[in-house]
């Protein structure tokens, strides 16, 4: 367990170091006209040079990187170039919004996919056809387009739900749910499309195992064979899919937050990308990698709990 955690953390640190270095080199290396972008076309050369000196991007790349790393390991990700706040403050304000949306989405994906996948594996029939249909439709409809359609139908025409905006859970749980219903609805379809197929496959595999026949021969109830034995053995595959879904949702959130004007990590990423706010982008990359690492470790721990053969 300890050796697993230390190994995992070590490889995560290597990943973090590699990706941030690469991102830094590419992003800062390509940041030729940042000052120009920020100041606009009318800026004089002197103004541009002053701003470059102020932001520190007139220094050699390796020097800038050294400063960034030295500060970052102490939790200081620098000041945003365009938003007038520290990166840490921006991220910590935005992260909970995105997380609450992604976590809600992953829960829905998990539950719906498990139900659909299990019914399809056991019964076939309509659930099988639903899964086949969803797998094509969910894959083909871009989530942001689905989001736009949901807005037109449920917000503009039916006026059931707000078209844009975000209500904090602590202020109003129902308002929170109402503000997230459409974005989460747009996010989950493609996730359900792939996860339900995986659950179906894993359940079919589990139900084909020898011990399932032997359990039935021993008079064990079908419900126990299905939900206790087969489901538990199908769980590792399903959990792995969910971890990949989580990564996909973090990216998908960027576009969906834009559609629904949700002040989360995704919309700040888009804003920073368009305006060339590099410290914010670096902060986002670091946050995302840490999130992914945490989720992967959690999935590994869950797998170890489900599958006694895995010893961490």
């Amino acid at each position: 367990m300890l050796s697993y955690l230390s190994k995992r953390l070590l490889s995560s640190l290597v990943l973090l170091a590699l990706v941030t270095t690469l991102t830094f080199a590419l992003v800062f290396g390509g940041a030729d006209n940042v000052a120009q972008n920020i100041l606009g076309d009318n800026a004089t050369d002197q103004q541009i040079a002053d701003l470059e000196a102020k932001l520190g991007i007139d220094r050699p790349l390796n020097e800038q990187y050294g400063t960034w790393v030295a500060k970052a390991v102490r939790g200081d990700l620098g000041m945003s170039w365009t938003m007038g706040e520290s990166v840490s403050k921006i991220l910590s304000g935005r992260l909970p919004v995105t997380l609450s949306m992604v976590v809600l989405a992953i829960c829905i994906i998990g539950i719906v996919s498990a139900l659909l996948g299990i019914v399809a594996a056991v019964r076939g029939g309509w659930a099988d056809r639903v899964i086949q249909l969803i797998s094509v439709v969910g894959f083909s409809l871009p989530n942001f387009w689905l989001g736009l359609i949901l807005v037109v139908v449920f917000a503009l025409n039916l006026r059931w739900l707000p078209a844009t905006g975000y209500t904090d859970f602590l202020n109003s749980p129902t308002g929170w749910l109402a503000s997230l219903a459409l974005p989460v609805g747009a996010l989950v379809l493609s996730g359900i499309a792939s996860a339900s197929q995986q659950v179906r496959g894993a359940m079919i595999d589990a139900l084909r195992q020898d011990y399932v026949r032997t359990l039935r021969a021993g008079g064990i109830k079908p419900s126990s064979v299905l939900f206790r034995h087969a489901l538990r053995n199908a769980m590792p595959a399903a959990l792995t899919v969910l971890s990949l879904q989580f990564i996909g949702l973090l990216g998908g959130a960027a576009i969906i937050e834009r559609v629904f004007a949700i002040p989360g990590l995704g919309s700040v990423t888009v804003q920073a990308a368009l305006s060339g706010d590099i410290p914010v982008l670096m902060g986002v990359v670091v946050t995302m990698i840490i999130l992914v690492v945490i989720v992967n470790i959690a999935i590994d721990l869950a797998n170890a709990w489900v599958n006694p053969k895995v010893r961490l």
Partner: protein, 587 residues
Amino acid sequence: MSAASTTPAPASAPGRESIVRSVLTNPLGLVAALLLLLVIVAAVFAPLIAPFAADDLQIFKINAPPGDGYLLGGDGSGRDIFSRLVYGTQNTLVGALIALSVAAAIGVTAGLFAGYFGGRREVVMSWVADGLMALPALIVLLAFYQSLGSSIHVSMIIFGVMLSPGFYRLTRNLVNGVKHELYVDAARVSGLSDMRIIARHILLVIRAPVIIQVSIVAGISIVIQAGLEFLGLGDPAVPTWGGMLQDAFANMFVVPTAILWPGLAISVTVASFVLLANAIRDRLQQGDRVATAPKIPAPAPHPVGTAPNDAAVLLDVRELVVGYPTKSGWTEVVKGVSLQLRRGEVLGLVGESGSGKTQTAFAILGLLSTGGRILSGSIWFDGRDIANLPESEMQKLRGKRIAYVPQEPMSNLDPAFRIGFQLTEPMVTVLGISKAEAKARALKLLARVGMPDPVRTYNAYPHQISGGMAQRVLIARAISCKPDLLIADEPTTALDVTVQAEVLELMRDLQAEMNMSVVLVTHNFGVVADICHRVSVMRDGRVVETSAVQSLFADPQHDYTKLLLAAVLDDVTPRVYRPVQAKEVSA
């Protein structure tokens, strides 16, 4: 497509034509192929098809409704939506092609090398692949946007790199699967170079799965590209589907319908790729699937005949026929088997592999594999015909009256649960006793079947005990509810020879102790001599001879029995005639 550039197809590609043809005969595959053709035609001949140039604007047609020359209406700047859709295909397809080429070139090449050569290279490449897959692609593309510039095509190169792990894993797994096939070994032995083996033998195997992956990745690329353009990351001068969606979004409150067209274009194109992939996959999987199950014959009149007169007969199988559906109808694997088993008797069911003995056993348990059915005949168990009994009724018999010991002990215990749970669960379910009592009984049973440390075994997981111990656990579980009939399917075959003797000894003792009836499926005459009272010899789904054990060995009637005995006696003579040896070993 681009995969073709990385996969030098063999000069003659048997099967390629047939894949194309069978995909086109699949209705969905045909529709998908036609739609894709349409998209490609639109991209190539855009200037001929589009009535207006992409950036022709007519100021009075801003957000205009369809009609008056603008087939689908005008956009937020007064440009023709239809013309821009047509021009948008070019950009979409080029972007998808770029991402696809990069992903396939990197992924397939790396996968081939990692799979074929393995070793440290594979470890490193797999680590890189895992790392790439751990990154949210869209976030990375956003982060790189400023340095990559506004050309969406450069972003698609990066996206191609991020998609390459999919190709890498697929190719590596496929190569790992085939590289030890005999024909690849043969090619190696005959002196072909590694490169030629990869080019000639391995690429042939991975071709179809890679084509499927190409379709999927093309779809993903189109969606992501549109997403980036929708966010405003593309070149505003180039007409794109994503950019059009952005424009429609900005004017959503004026003309909500304008969001339909670009989205439909994206969805239909992507769906075509997916359906094409599905059509190819269906064709690949056709081999092991029955397209349409044959008509199920009317169930045999039930019950068949009457219960046996003699109350001492526990099991009376009459003219049992078991079949499985295939393309050409029902294939019978048991073709009219009759067996009789008296109370307290051990009946050996002997025959070579595929003679139908296991299927007969499963039919008695009502646990035939998917699709299998009892087509005719009857199974009288304790005065009742249980052939084709409803599952709920059958479930009441299993465990309590009829129990089962399987052949392969390790795969027949659920790896996710402790032995203790797997032993007590049937007792709690079938006998309705409390968990505590079940535990007490389970520990006693474990001791009875010869576990040196019952508590430790009780708390162990299946992978922590040996095969012989696992088989004892399975026997303990089978007898835990005191069944009248035990069906043991080759209970010793998977075990070491010394352990075989011990397990057989245990079964004989338990049988005598509980006066159980046992059907023992085996191909081993040594086992038969050890434990059985009577023997039925099966061949090709039929019983060819049934007699008492002594008379079978002394005077086999059927030629096939003689043949089997002759084959066996040469090998294991000592085991057949010295059952005493078993006692010495276990003592």
